[in-house]
């Protein structure tokens, strides 16, 4: 692992305020029966064989792509604090540490999701290889067309 303090070039940070109390958000995040219903892109199904929500516990999730391809995701939970925080280490490729935090905001819940990739190289490789989901395809085509039309920089 590269020894650098600057992680900006290999991380993703997302946040969203969900219109549900923290207990419900926690429930849908931590129960395999729920998570299988929302994890993974549109058109994918998920099989969760293990989800042992305790420090050192394993999480095995296989995403089944619309093309019949399986994507194995093996992780180890590093931190689990009820209604507050989940940290897991994704030990399949790409290696990353994800930190999900939950904060109560009245009847709503602010969820923040931070993913730190082991290396910039893996991060870029995954981003590059990532299948463009429908809907984004159009955007990419639009952008490509636009880039093609931009005159070369002086």
């Amino acid at each position: 692992m590269k020894n650098t303090n600057d992680t900006r070039d290999r991380e993703i940070f997302l946040s969203r305020t969900l219109n549900a109390p923290i207990a419900l958000v926690w429930e849908v995040w931590t129960q395999p029966g729920h998570i299988a219903n929302w994890w993974g892109p549109v058109g994918f199904t998920n099989t969760i064989s293990t989800m042992d929500m305790q420090v050192g516990g394993e999480w095995n999730l296989v995403m089944h792509g619309p093309d019949g391809k399986d994507y194995i995701n093996k992780s180890i939970f590093r931190e689990v604090i009820l209604h507050k925080k989940i940290v897991y280490e994704h030990i399949s490729y790409p290696r990353l540490v994800a930190t999900i935090e939950f904060a109560e905001q009245g009847d709503q819940t602010l969820i923040t999701w931070h993913m730190l990739f082991e290396s910039r190289e893996q991060f870029i490789e995954v981003a590059k290889a990532h299948k463009v989901v429908e809907g984004q395809k159009q955007n990419v085509e639009k952008l490509e067309a636009y880039l093609a039309g931009l005159s070369p920089r002086q």
């Binding site: 993703i12 969900l18 549109v42």
Partner: protein, 112 residues
């Protein structure tokens, strides 16, 4: 839901594409840009603000003028991949949001 700011959004609009084309060769002052368009100054300012939020423009104050400079590195291939990948994770949050709504509805009905 929080608004997303990325290069796709930046170039999705024809006015914004035109603004980028205008300032790509040289920095221009906000008023000069606004005069070129058949719309209110506020509307043009909003487009400029979106381009700033998307990281495609930086504004530099020079005396009383505000100059817009294009930062086209954001349109590089790598940032496009990263943006796409980020959207993949954003869509996971979309799914979570939808699923929770659905679940709430189901549970409300059971209580009736």
């Amino acid at each position: 839901m929080k608004a997303r700011r990325d290069v796709f959004q930046a170039i999705a609009d024809p006015t914004r594409r035109e603004i980028i084309n205008m300032i790509a060769p040289q920095s221009l002052n906000v008023n000069t840009i606004a005069e070129k368009f058949d719309m209110s100054r506020q509307a043009v300012s909003l487009h400029i603000q979106i381009l700033i939020d998307c990281g495609l423009i930086v504004v530099k104050q020079q005396g009383r003028d505000r100059f817009c400079e294009a930062k086209l590195d954001q349109l590089s291939e790598v940032s496009i991949w990263v943006d796409q990948y980020r959207q993949h994770w954003e869509s996971k949050l979309d799914n979570l949001e939808k699923y929770i709504e659905q679940l709430k509805k189901q549970r409300d009905e059971k209580h009736k």
